[in-house]
């Protein structure tokens, strides 16, 4: 039987991690169908049909799908799942919220946040904040899998022309009402997909000092990250949090400034290709994962760093 991928989108466009989820799902079975549930999401459905790995798109539309409420999404996916062996979605807040609701309805024990597909029923997943990797085999007849998007490459995004079929919407779930969404708009690259991430921690001492982080990010066209301590202290909003309960990032370059490196933070960034740490405490655990560590007061080192980057830019120009 085939694999059903649940596409993540904003009714206009596909969310970039849908492409990573397609790659993961196609490794379970190449007969891959994708379902898109939304309201007036025709453009996004078309984009989905252009992914060469997707063999068929199922589009389900209704006004109550506008805001991605899991209680509305789950029943329609559960019904479609009759024809599939696997239901797959990204392990971001959309998928984390939705998939267990589907799994419980299918009486399936979900496998969360996999980082590798070993076979159609066997997967690798991190546990204990990535301090151990478990190889697990699902024995359920239907598998419900969420995938860690940064562990899979995005699939090819054009050239395909899968048929788009419409499916009947399920009834509205009346006990949950969407009120509002406060999205933080930014011209910067998205944290999850950025090539460079610059993160600040408690050592930044104030929200105002985060402008040092912003300056570096400007120079390097980087996304801005933060430790939980910095978010808790109110220096920066929650959508920047990197770690076990925040976002997992795998950039080419991760610069950790004033971050001590608690296990929970390392869980979100230690797979980055190159890690830089600037911290005045030479014993800070962040240095154990850093390729380049600079033991220094960040308030002296960061302005110098910005100056050096400026010089570099001038030379390059």
């Amino acid at each position: 039987m085939s694999v059903l991928l649940v596409a993540e989108h904003n009714n206009k466009e596909l969310k970039p991690f849908t492409l990573n989820a397609v790659t993961a799902a196609s490794q379970m079975n190449t007969d891959l169908h994708a379902v898109i549930i939304g309201n007036n999401c025709g453009d996004a459905a078309k984009k989905l049909s252009e992914l060469p790995m997707v063999k068929k798109v199922i589009q389900v539309e209704a006004a109550h799908y506008e805001n991605f409420v899991a209680e509305n999404f789950a029943p329609v996916i559960v019904k479609l799942a009759e024809n599939y062996s696997h239901v797959v979605c990204s392990a971001n807040t959309f998928g984390k919220n939705l998939m267990p609701r589907i799994a419980a309805s299918l009486d399936t024990s979900q496998v969360s946040d996999i980082i590798k597909v070993i076979s159609a029923d066997t997967f690798l997943r991190p546990i204990y904040a990535g301090n151990a990797f478990a190889t697990v085999k699902s024995k359920d007849p239907k598998k419900c899998i969420t995938i860690r998007p940064t562990s899979f490459d995005p699939c090819e995004s054009s050239g395909g022309s899968a048929p788009i079929e419409k499916a009947e919407p399920s009834e509205e779930f009346n006990n949950t009402k969407f009120v509002k969404r406060e999205e933080i708009k930014s011209d910067r690259p998205e944290l999850g997909t950025a090539r460079v991430v610059v993160s600040g921690g408690r050592g930044m001492q104030s929200g105002d000092n985060f402008k040092l982080i912003t300056s570096i990010a400007d120079k390097l066209n980087a996304a801005i990250g933060a430790s939980r301590a910095a978010v808790d202290a109110g220096y920066i909003s929650n959508d920047h949090q990197v770690g076990q309960t925040g976002k997992v990032v795998v950039p080419d370059l991760y610069i950790a400034i004033g971050i001590s490196g608690a296990i929970q933070h390392l869980a979100g960034m230690k797979e980055s290709k190159v890690i830089v740490a600037i911290n005045k405490d030479g014993e800070a655990p962040i240095f154990s994962v850093a390729d380049y560590g600079l033991e220094a007061d960040l308030f002296e080192a960061v302005p110098q760093f910005i100056e050096e980057l400026n010089k570099l830019n001038t030379i390059q120009k």
Binding site: N97, S109, A132, T176, I184, D239, Q244, I263, L294
Partner: protein
């Protein structure tokens, strides 16, 4: 209003977890155990709601081996009124836990069920959502703010894009984020008082739920180690290395 709060006993968040030499799991012998951190937020929120006069009873429930009683006892020490321990041995998957909790919900008839959004041991992030599906109740996951409005809750959720607010009708499930509140510490007099609070023990097998694992854990390994890095002496050296050695800027 009655609030049921589910708490899990896990390896303490400060412990550096080690993988067993035979690759069957992680070392739990002689390792400090505590309450799963966001479950502390769940208890705190329930107790705060009771203190504000909007709830009459807070019941803490845990599923696991006999020692999980300590976790229930800790919830009692910070303000839960009574406890329930569902005795079960071996690996319990979130699906099994949510089925057991469903039985407790049917018996206790709470208006709200709170728990942490994720357990820091298996990192599954499933139980609340699964329980909510089994009960066909609304779910507010990753909650960082809860406001009670008559028979409704307005919940602010932390999502990847920022914040989302939803309104859910009671009865409902809420899974709590670490930013929901600041959990209190148990005072010594309250720890003593908690010893007198009742904990009901129920055997999982008596609840008619099949808890046998559906997922076979084939092996548990150490993650690949990063090769040791170097300390640079100056910012200039750092920039030079990033440019010429790592070639990332």
């Amino acid at each position: 209003m009655k609030i049921l709060v589910a708490v899990k006993r896990v390896i303490d968040y400060n412990v550096q977890v080690r993988v067993k030499e035979d690759n069957t799991g992680v070392v739990t012998e002689n390792v400090k155990m505590s309450t799963n951190p966001p479950d502390d937020n769940a208890i705190e929120e329930a107790v705060k709601i009771k203190e504000s006069g909007k709830a009459t009873e807070v019941v803490a429930v845990s599923v696991g081996e006999e020692k999980a009683q300590e976790t229930v006892r800790k919830a009692l020490a910070v303000g839960a009124d009574r406890g329930i321990l569902i005795n079960a041995d071996g690996i319990l998957e979130p699906l099994a836990v949510s089925k057991l909790l469903q039985k407790i919900v049917e018996k206790e008839k709470p208006d709200l069920v709170f728990m942490g959004k994720q357990a820091i041991d298996d990192d599954c992030n499933q139980t609340g959502q699964m329980l909510s599906a089994l009960l066909n109740w609304p779910q507010a996951t990753f909650a960082s703010k809860i406001e009670i409005k008559d028979k409704k809750l307005e919940v602010t959720r932390e999502i990847d894009e920022g914040l989302e607010t939803i309104e859910i009708n009671i009865p409902a499930i809420v899974t709590c984020d670490l930013r929901l509140n600041e959990p209190r510490y148990a005072s010594l007099p309250n720890i003593m008082k908690a010893k007198k609070k009742p904990i009901e023990q129920i055997n999982a097998s008596d609840l008619g739920v099949d808890t046998s694992p559906r997922i076979e854990q084939i092996k548990v390994e150490e993650p690949p180690k990063r090769k040791a890095g170097i300390k640079v002496k100056s910012v200039a050296e750092l920039v030079q290395k990033l440019k010429n050695e790592a070639k990332v800027i």
